[in-house]
C-alpha cells in the first residue's frame, strides 16, 4: 500500500517538470514486464548522476516495453517533435539495435548506460554513439580471469541457449584456459534441477553461470537447495548477481564469487557520494550496477552539457562527451577507439552481514585498463 502511494506521488511529481529551462534528455528504457526493475534502476540512477553534475536538465522518460517497434516510435517523437538531441536509457540490445541507428541518422547523440551490442562496437561504430557501461564480452572475460587466478582448472559453464549466452561462455573460456564443460539452458527455463544433477555428476572445481534477472534468482536458489552451494564454488559475472537478485535470493547467495567493474564499497569520493544520494532517495531499493552505470552516464552527460553549454552545438557536445572529463564512480574510466569503456575489473566475494543477508565485498583488481575485442575493427 505504501508502494502505491509513493508511486502515485512520483507520478504527480513527474507531471510537473522541475527544470523547465534545462536541456531535454530523452530516456527510452524498459519499465514494464519482468525486466521492469532494470529500467527503474537506470532512470533513477541517471537522474541522481545528473543532479550531482549540477547541470540544468529535463528528463523525458518513456517505456519501450522491450519492443523495438515501440522504441523506434518513441525515438521518432523525441527526436523530431520534441527536438531532443541526446538520447540514453536503453536496457536491451534488441531495442538499441533499432533505436540507435534512428538517433544517429537524425544527427543526435546516443549514450548507452547498459546495452552494447557487438554489431555497433566494431566496423559499424559511430562518432555520436557512446557506451558508458561495458562491452558484453569483457564482463565474462573477467570471470574467466578470476577463476584462473583462484587456481581452478576444471569448470562447468552454464548459460541460456541464445547468442549472449554463447558469448558469455566464449568470453569465460578465453581467459580461463582450463577444461570447461558447457551446458546450455532453455531460453525461458526457470527450473534448473536437471542442470544441478549434471553439475554434481561432473564435479568440477568451479561453476560459472550467466543468467540475468529472474533466471539468475531461480538458479541461485536452486543451487543452494540442491546442496551444491557449500561444495562447489561459483564464479559469476556482474549481471548474474546484482543487488536486486541478491535481495531476492537472500542468504543462499553467501559464499559466491563475482567479478564486476564497480562495487558499492569502492573507496572514492564519487562512489561514496552516489551511495549516499541513492540511500537517501531510495532507501528500500538496492543500488545495482545498472543504476551505477546510469549514474556515471548522468555525470558524463552533465559535465559535457556544462562544457558545451547545452545541446545547441552538437559537434561541441560530441567532443565534450568524447573527452570524458568526469570523475567516474569506478575510479579510472576512459573511452577506447570505438568509444566503449577502457576500465578495470575487480574480484568480489559475497559475504554475510550482521543480519545474515548477502553483501558484496571487493577483494582485488584482476584486470587493468581493458577495452574490448571489437575496438580494433572500428575506423572512425
Amino acid at each position: 500500500m505504501k508502494r502505491l502511494l509513493t508511486t502515485a506521488s512520483l507520478l504527480a511529481a513527474m507531471a510537473v517538470p522541475a527544470f523547465a529551462d534545462g536541456t531535454k534528455i530523452g530516456v527510452i528504457t524498459t519499465l514494464s514486464g519482468p525486466a521492469g526493475y532494470l529500467g527503474e534502476q537506470i532512470r533513477d540512477g541517471l537522474a541522481l548522476g545528473l543532479d550531482a553534475s549540477g547541470a540544468a536538465y529535463e528528463l523525458v522518460v518513456e517505456d519501450d516495453g522491450r519492443d523495438p517497434n515501440t522504441g523506434v516510435q518513441v525515438a521518432d517523437r523525441m527526436l523530431n517533435e520534441e527536438g531532443i538531441k541526446l538520447l540514453t536509457g536503453i536496457v536491451f540490445s534488441n531495442v538499441s539495435g533499432a533505436v540507435v541507428p534512428e538517433a544517429l541518422d537524425a544527427g543526435a547523440i546516443y549514450v548507452s548506460p547498459n546495452a552494447a551490442p557487438s554489431g555497433l562496437a566494431g566496423a559499424k561504430c559511430h562518432p555520436n554513439y557512446f557506451v558508458v557501461s561495458w562491452q558484453n564480452d569483457s564482463l565474462h572475460e573477467a570471470s574467466g580471469a578470476a577463476a584462473k587466478k583462484l587456481g581452478y582448472t576444471t569448470a562447468v559453464a552454464l548459460a541460456p541457449n541464445y547468442q549472449a549466452g554463447k558469448d558469455a561462455i566464449e568470453g569465460f573460456k578465453r581467459e580461463f584456459g582450463g577444461e570447461v564443460t558447457e551446458i546450455y539452458t532453455g531460453v525461458e527455463q526457470s527450473d534448473f534441477a536437471g542442470e544441478m544433477a549434471q553439475i554434481r555428476d561432473k564435479a568440477p572445481q568451479v561453476v560459472f553461470q550467466f543468467h540475468p534477472g529472474g533466471q539468475g534468482i531461480a538458479f541461485l536458489k536452486q543451487y543452494q537447495q540442491s546442496g551444491l552451494l557449500g561444495t562447489i564454488p561459483m564464479v559469476l559475472s556482474e549481471p548474474s548477481y546484482d543487488g536486486v537478485i541478491l535481495k531476492a535470493v537472500g542468504p543462499a547467495a553467501v559464499g559466491l564469487t563475482g567479478t564486476t567493474h564497480w562495487n558499492a564499497d569502492f573507496d572514492n569520493e564519487a562512489s561514496k557520494a552516489m551511495v549516499a544520494a541513492w540511500t537517501a532517495a531510495h532507501p528500500d531499493v538496492p543500488l545495482t550496477t545498472y543504476a551505477q552505470q546510469a549514474y556515471d552516464t548522468g555525470l558524463l552527460i552533465g559535465a559535457a552539457l556544462q562544457k558545451a553549454g547545452g545541446d545547441g552545438d552538437i559537434a561541441a557536445l560530441q567532443a565534450a562527451i568524447k573527452s570524458a572529463e568526469f570523475t567516474s564512480t569506478r575510479g579510472s574510466f576512459a573511452f577506447g577507439p570505438n568509444q566503449h569503456p577502457v576500465q578495470d575489473w575487480y574480484l568480489t566475494a559475497i559475504e554475510a552481514d550482521a543480519a545474515g543477508n548477502p553483501v558484496i565485498v571487493t577483494k582485488e583488481k584482476i584486470r587493468e585498463a581493458v577495452g574490448d575485442v571489437y575496438a580494433a575493427d572500428c575506423k572512425m
Binding site: L11, D63, Q73, N80, N94, G97, P117, S118, Y162, A164
Partner: protein
Amino acid sequence: MKREHLILLAVFLLLALVPYAAELTGQTSWTRLVGQALIYGMAAASLNFILGYGGMVSFGHAAFFGIGGYVVGILYHHFDAGTSFLGLIPGTDQMLITLPAAVIVAGLAAALVGAMSLRTGGVQFIMITLAFAQMFFFLFISLKTYGGEDGIMVRRTNSLPGLDMKNKATLYWVVLCFAAAYYLFLRRLVQSSFGQIIAGIRQNERRMAAMGISTYRYKLAAFVLSGMGAGLAGALMVNFLRFASPDMMHWSRSGELMIMVILGGVGTLAGPFIGAGVLFTLETTLARYTEHWMLPVGILLLIVVLTTRGGLMALIRRLGGKR
C-alpha cells in the same frame, strides 16, 4: 456499393495526407505511427482471412511475419557484407527483389506448417500452429550469423527505382500503397468463388466435403495465401524499422495480431486495420502519459469486449445506423 467506394477513396486520400498533416501540426512522428499501424493492419488482415473467413484460428501467425522480415534482413546482410546466402544466393537491397522473395519464403513456410496443422482442428489447431511458431522462434534466436536474439540491422531501407526511400514521407506512401493494394486484393479474394468456398468450409465443412470439394486443399491454399500476406507485412516492417529481430515471431506477437483482429472485428475487411491502428496508437500514446499504460489498455480492451459484440466494427456499424 457506390457508397462503399466513396468511403474507401476518402479514407485512402485522408491517409495519403497524413505526412502533410503531421508536418503542419508539428506532430511529425505520426507519419511513422500510422505507417507502423498500417503494416500491423496488413499482418492482422492476413490472419483474419483464415481466422475470420476460414475459421482457422492460427496462434502462430507471427512466424510468417518474422520470416518475411528476416528474408529482407538476411538479404541486406549479405549485400552489405558482399557475401552470399549459403554461398549460393547473393544479397540485395532492391525492394523489387526482396519483397517477392519474402512473400515466397513465407508462403513456403506456411505450406509446411499448414500441411501438418490442418490435419487437426479447433483448440488442437491453435496449439499446433503455436508449436511450429515456437520452433521458428528458437531457430532464429540461435542464428549467430544473423545476430541471434540481438536481431539484425538493416542500415538502409531497400531501394525502389526512381524513389528516394530515405525520405520518410515517400516510404510511408509506399507502405500505404501496399496496404491499399492488399486491402483490395483481400476484398476481391473474399468475394471470389475461392473465398466463398473458404467461408462455406467454416460454416459447415462436412457439407462442403459432401459437395465433392477437397476441403483440406482449399484450407491449405488459404493458409498459404495468408502466410504470404504476413510475410509481405513483415518485409515492409523491416524496411520501415530497418531492423529485424526474433521478437517479431515471439508467441506474444502472434497473440497481439489475434487481439488486433478481435478488437477490430472478426471476419470484416476493415476491422483488422482498425484494430491494429487503435491498439498501436493506444499503447504508444498512453505510454507517453504513464509508465503504467498497460493498466488502462487492459481496462479499455475489457470494456470493448464486454460492451460490443463483434469488436469495433460492430460499434461503428451501430453508431452509423443500420443500412
